[in-house]
Amino acid sequence: MRFSESRKRQVVGTSDASQVGRLRHFVVSPSNRTVTALVLDKTPGDEVLVDWSELQAFGRDAITVTSAESFRAPHGQDEEQAIKGKLDVLGKPVLTERGDGLGELEDVDFDAETGEITALQTSREEVRGHRLIGVGSYAVVVSAPER
């Protein structure tokens, strides 16, 4: 599954089969190299964050949750930044830990079952997901390539 094709995907509550939101941003944890949460819009209440663990499924046509009750407020500065879209990875420069540029991040491949980031697609090359070491408001940082 790719970040680019998942934009604006509807989030459906399975308890009453109604749409409870729409995907706006992915929250990525560099330490686990996974998607840890989703930022939504068009939610019934003010809460716009949902943890990956609360999802029933991330499907091609819809993302399912039990209900909007699993949505929550942000905890901490990183999540505050994430809901404003500051940590959105697509379009950011990709830098290696050595300071070399790999182009802009054009897409991210992830496992729809586990949320694991499998690959980063930059404007120049593909970078294996396990090399991700930082996601910030300025750049995405990856480890140096193996020799």
Partner: protein, 193 residues
């Protein structure tokens, strides 16, 4: 593995943490004139009109230096400017505008930039391996800029930097061939070339 880069290319380079946040940008490159080492960077706030910052980034605090950014750990080790000034031995010393003289007293020109060789790996060094000078008539008729390779330690006398005469044979016009010129020159000094 190592890369060659001019000091001027590093000015304005963003300083980025491994967490992907941009801290500031490089204002100036600080070198030790005699030891020919990169000591660190002075810093400016980001943006076209970014004013200077009071702290500096010593080379030991740098995680990586590449073609787009200077990378630092998340808990970046910036230090007060006074500490770096002590290490340059001469406060306010600036290699720019020094003149390069050969052993036999020929003026080769005025220094306009330094060429750094940055090595990879832990304990990586960043060494001054050359000067870019505005060539004197002894080197060129049209006052163009040329690159002069340097030995491991540089002799300094007042505002002059002294290089062995052999340096004239290894002068380069661009960075592409300069790595080989530095190697060739240093081999010559060791009596190998």
């Amino acid at each position: 593995m190592s890369i060659l880069v001019r000091g001027a290319e590093l000015v304005g380079r963003p300083v980025v943490t491994l967490a992907g946040e941009v801290e500031c940008q490089v204002k100036d490159v600080v070198v030790h004139r005699k030891a020919g080492e990169l000591i660190g960077f002075t810093l400016a706030k980001r943006g076209l009109l970014g004013g200077p910052r009071k702290d500096v980034l010593p080379w030991e605090g740098v995680h990586g230096l590449g073609n787009e950014a200077v990378m630092v750990p998340e808990t970046a080790a910036f230090t007060p400017a006074e500490e770096m000034a002590e290490r340059t031995q001469r406060k306010g010393a600036d290699v720019l505008t020094d003149r390069v003289l050969t052993d036999s007293g020929t003026d080769l020109g005025e220094v306009v930039d330094v060429v750094l060789e940055v090595h990879d790996g832990d304990d990586a060094k960043a060494e001054v391996v050359g000067y870019e000078v505005q060539a004197s008539p002894a080197l060129s008729q049209d006052g163009r800029r040329v690159l002069i390779p340097l030995p491991d330690t540089i002799a300094v006398s007042g505002e002059h930097l002294i290089v062995p005469d052999a340096a004239r044979e290894f002068v380069s016009y661009d960075l592409a061939g300069f790595g080989a010129a530095v190697e060739g020159f240093r081999s010559r000094l060791r009596g190998e070339g």
